[in-house]
Amino acid sequence: MDDRPHRSHRPSQSGAKHEKKEKAKGKEKKQGFNEKAFAPKSGRRADRQGRRTAEKDQTRLHVPLVDRTPDEDPPPVIVAIVGPSGVGKTTLLKSLVRRYTKQTLNEAKGPITVVSGKKRRLTFIECNNDLNSMIDIGKVADLILLMIDGSFGFEMETFEFLNILQSHGFPKVIGILSHLDLIKKAATLKASKKALKKRFWTEIYQGAKLFYLSGVINGRYPDTEILNLSRFISVMKFRPLVFRNSHPYLLVDRLEDLTSRELVRTSKGKCDRTVTVYGYLRGTNLRSGSKVHIPGVGDLSMKSVTILGDPCPLPTAESEKRRKLSEKKKLLIHAPMSDVGGVMYDKDAVWINVPGSFTRGNTDVLQGEGEQMVMDLQDVNSTLDDAVARSQIRLFGSSSQPLIVGSENDDGSEDEESDDEEGEESSDEGTDGEEPDEDEDDDWEIEDTPAGAKNTGRTSMRTGVRELPKSNGKQRADVEYADSDSDLGASDEEQELGGRRVRFGDEDDRNIPSDDENGISEDEEDDDAPKWKSKLSEHAQQLAASSRKAKRKDWTKLIYTTTLTPEQIINGEQELDEEGEDMNVDDDDFFKIKTRATETVDILDKGKDDIDPEELKKWEDEDVLDSLRRLFITGADTAAAEGGGDSEGDDEDENRDDEDENGSGNDSDDGGESPTAEDPAKALAAKKEALKRKFDEQYDDPESSKLDFYQEKKDEIAQQLVLNRAEFEGLDSEARALVEGYRPGSYLRIELSDVPAELVEHFDPTYPIIVGGLLPAEERFGYVQVRIKRHRWYARTLKNNDPLILSLGWRRFQTLPTYSLDDHSIRMRMLKYTPEHMHCYATFYGPVSLPNTGFCAFNSLSSGTPGFRVSATGVVLDIDRSVKIVKKIKLTGVPYKVFKNTAFIKDMFSSALEVAKFEGANIRTVSGIRGQVKKALPKPDGAFRATFEDKILKSDIVFLRAWYSVTPRKYYNAVTSLLLSSKSEWTGMRLTGQVRRDEGLKTPLDVNSTYKKIERPARKFNPLVVPKKLQSELPYASKPKLTAPQRTPTYLQKRAVVMEPEEKKAITLLQQIRALRKDQVVRRKEKKDGKREEKKRKMRKEEERKSEKEKERKKEVMRIVGQKSRREAELEEGHGRRKRSKS
């Protein structure tokens, strides 16, 4: 059926159908050519439309950022599930894990990595409700599933978390509403969904994705809803965030303690630990020399970094052919802290879940082989040390005496630690002079130390050390090529074994136990060694000699891995290379250093090298001079050069470059002609092409060919990325790590030394551990100036010098900020409190971070704090504070002698020296008379002469306004929340008042600070008494005229008044009028009072109605609060129940 071709359609050539078709064709065409269709009808609308499209174009644009995640093998995307407690985070995590891997986790702790698609892996992590965890997660998560209880609404933590995200670069957020099944009424459900969505959109952006999850079925969310969610996750695109794009970081998914048990035992677990952390590297490349910060722990230095095999690899090319992810790959999951596959790692043991009831010594239940082995291990009474001490080793089958284990063996594990590769290596180098060259050394190592061979000595398993089943072992084989001077591999090996390793390599003659510590005598080893070593070195030398002839200098190797001096390298002493090195090894090390030192002393530090006259001699020769012609634009390929120095010509020239090097003069001419001779037509075509391009450039519209700035930048970035990828493509991984560091996406094992013991002891997998790489500048401490604004939801103002917890960069720390404001660009003036609704500056002592880094601040991180906890947000402006902060200070003094415009002023300074410093300073009285400090006076210390613009009173107070510079206090306290047993209860420095309250102390009361009643007695002026004698001499005008008070009534008082009848009449009339008026006023007032009374009554009524309403409202609120608390209580119970059932 299929192979037979279908008959082709034959349209009718005539008839009705044909005519109809013809007609339709014409119509269609007509429609297509309607030029009016999309033309705007009015000019105004056209304008508006144009502006709208332009605006849309502009909003589409973002600042072009470089995305540094590698295309092949990108690190897993971190998907964090965040929300208040009891909202269903764990359920969602389990559902998602089940969706991707078909495995049900009982306990989902720590990061869980799964393969979600052919190109994408996801790391899920649940964030608990602790603010510290939320901060840390916000800094690393790529996608956040923000869970909101639909039946309750938003909680404070959600808003806090969003604000934290905002200040640390906003990752993608998907909102998820859960507990929607608790709302029974459909209308309420719809309304609450709408309200929540509206609020969510205002918080994130209009149109942010919000998911709805209905009830829980079988302890999981409905499969279809989870499937939809996972689809959204898989198509999510991520925009690079600036901070993460400039820092390497790891989300730790596994943590191991490598400290020797003995050390832990002797120090009772208090010693600093050596810890390895594992995780996918994200962000930028990690260089092995840099420092790292673990938020909640502190700054740590990396002892070593190793790339491990990917525990959860992406599907390979072989399965890539399929469109869908294969079922096998789907099952991949990497979650070392959870209980995947019945094995659970916790901080110092591995738990294996055995089905059924299992008790030790229960012989009637059949035991598997594995269980038997574990039990055997548990039965071992003596340590390996003892076993070694007891055992006798014979080196050769023929040797009669067994080796005697020396007494040095007493001090436990440390001896044996150096018992492996490194020890052997170093002893070899020290004793034999025939150490072969580096690369031969490498070869030897690789064939000698397969992973399996090394582990033969192991007889018992340590309880403390766990290894991931396969990945480590496999990895060992391809990592272990490190040469002896980079101690990477060796130390790695050493740690991995944890110091309980002894090798019994007697069957293979290569595995000589050359450990001096174990008491093998030197001569025995010497006898043995040459057998193979001499052969090897001979072989190596032959190899080297043959290869060197063919190869040219490998500069990278010469410079970085040999011990040759620069002189030797330059002078091309590659032949001497081995001998030189051998001699170096042969010679006493000290001697060698000495000679080199004497050499360097003589060399002057010069900017340019001396010109070698011998070398210049050759330029006297004309031929040699001519040989250089090709390097000039006039010299070589004339055709190409005249065309404007085209790149083609250059390329050709470069290729010939080296043939010409020999110095044969005719070469250049020859080279110039060859392309034209070969193919004149081609050259002509090329020339034409160039001319055409030139023409086009000149005459075409320059706008059309030019890209806009945005596109240009994007192209530039893309080009650079391509170059980045291409440059180191061919290099092996070791060299790559050397040149560019460890690339993001690789699974790393980082060994950290001097880690506080508490991290291991109080390890809790539900709290995320992040290893953040620090830039070189960020390791420093100094003053940092930031722009800060108190959060408008934070209830109180922030006070100067109050401790504040900042989350800045990777770090969380407490510090004492000093707030300031720019005062007319003259000075930075200290503020006592942060201003309302305004930015101000703050300066604090702390770790330096790059300008433009955002931060958020908290007064307290504890969950018991009521209200909104994010107290301020801001951005770093400047490090190493160069601006001085000043505060105003007023010095006061009083005049003790006043002349006309001059006054002597005391009590302002305490010595003449101080006065001298302030000479010429402006002073002022309280009443506003301005003046100047002139000169110190000798008599009372610190008094000075001052002049004013007017005469001042003696009672005036004179003050001098000055500025006192303030230095922020050097206080830095890292929030070490991960080191606590109860992680959310970190407390830093408390306020004095808080300390007093906690300690039950009373505030000390200074006598001078108590307020007393201010008494201002009325001023009493004494009568002026002029002596009688003086009075008598005074002229009359100046005499005080003091007369005694009148005793008898005066005439005016005594006389009686008799009025005229008319006068009487008038007065009566006036009185009557006044009486009438009075009466009127009284009546009016009565009326007014009545009205007021009535109004009052009305108001009271109104008030009553209002209060009734208020009461109703309050009742409603309280009901909701009660509901919440009840639910929380229930939850608490539920948690308890669940936990019990788990254990």
Binding site: Y560, F728, A735
Partner: protein, 262 residues
């Protein structure tokens, strides 16, 4: 090397010897070193003004150095050395016969004229107060390629040697520099390498001649200091005789943290 990463733009006046046999003279610093910095995006306001010259024993010269600050240096990708398109030079003479500089120019031109017509050698005679405390003269030469790669050389006066010989010495040194090839002059290798290491976290590439003594030590120092090493491969793998090398490295992403924002 440090100036672009300071907190504020630098305006520095330095007094002393401007030309001697050990270090690059101010002429070369001005005409070659500063253009090298421009490759890395340090350009606006980068200037070296020679106010007075001072020859070797007593000095007495004065230069003013202006340098802007940058946030981050640009990644260098400079693999095409191009061809020499012009040669410039400065012959200066202080407290000696001004004719000396002309004689140097004559001698130098006698060698260089065969290559290229675009040769300008300036005669720069400082007199009186501006000429420092000691007599001396020198010739500095630089060759610029079509891709703005610069090569330079200089020779300064020696007692008992005629100016023509000095000029020939400088010229031949320039020729050997040109022959050595690459995009960056031998004397500026370490400068270019340092700026490459300090660049953003991208791959920077530069084609240069074989490393000098100083460069080798410098590369080792860089490895100690930045934990970064260079990949050094022959620029032209197909050609066994090619002596030029391609230096590439992954920048450390150094950002000038001292720069004040706003």
């Amino acid at each position: 090397m440090l100036a672009p990463f300071a907190k504020k733009p630098i305006n520095l006046t330095i007094k002393g010897i401007t030309t001697d046999e050990h270090d690059l003279s101010v002429d070369l610093l001005r005409t070659v070193t500063l253009p090298h910095l421009q490759l890395f995006g340090i350009s606006d306001g980068l200037e070296l003004r020679i106010k007075k010259r001072g020859a070797a024993p007593n000095g007495g010269g004065e230069v003013q150095f202006l340098c802007p600050i940058v946030k981050q240096v640009k990644t260098l990708n400079f693999v095409d050395p191009g061809k020499i398109k012009r040669i410039r030079g400065i012959a200066h003479a202080v407290r000696v016969n001004p004719q000396f500089s002309n004689r140097m120019i004559e001698a130098s031109r006698s060698v260089l004229n065969r290559y290229i017509p675009d040769i300008y050698l300036y005669s720069d005679v400082y007199k009186g107060e501006e000429s420092g405390k000691s007599p001396g003269y020198a010739l500095t030469l630089l060759a610029e390629s079509t891709t703005t790669a610069l090569h330079c050389s200089e020779a300064i006066s020696e007692p008992g040697v005629v100016p023509e010989d000095i000029a020939l010495k400088a010229t031949r040194a320039l020729l050997s520099e040109i022959e050595n090839g690459g995009c960056v002059d031998r004397k500026h290798q370490s400068l270019a390498l340092l700026m490459m290491v300090l660049g953003s976290e991208d791959v920077g590439r530069c084609r240069m001649g074989e490393p000098t003594l100083k460069t080798v030590q410098f590369l080792r120092d860089i490895k100690d200091f930045f934990a970064t090493s260079f990949k050094i491969v022959p620029a032209d793998p197909s050609d066994p005789e090619c002596k030029q090398l391609l230096y590439s490295c992954y920048g450390t992403g150094y950002v000038n943290a001292n720069r004040t924002l706003a």
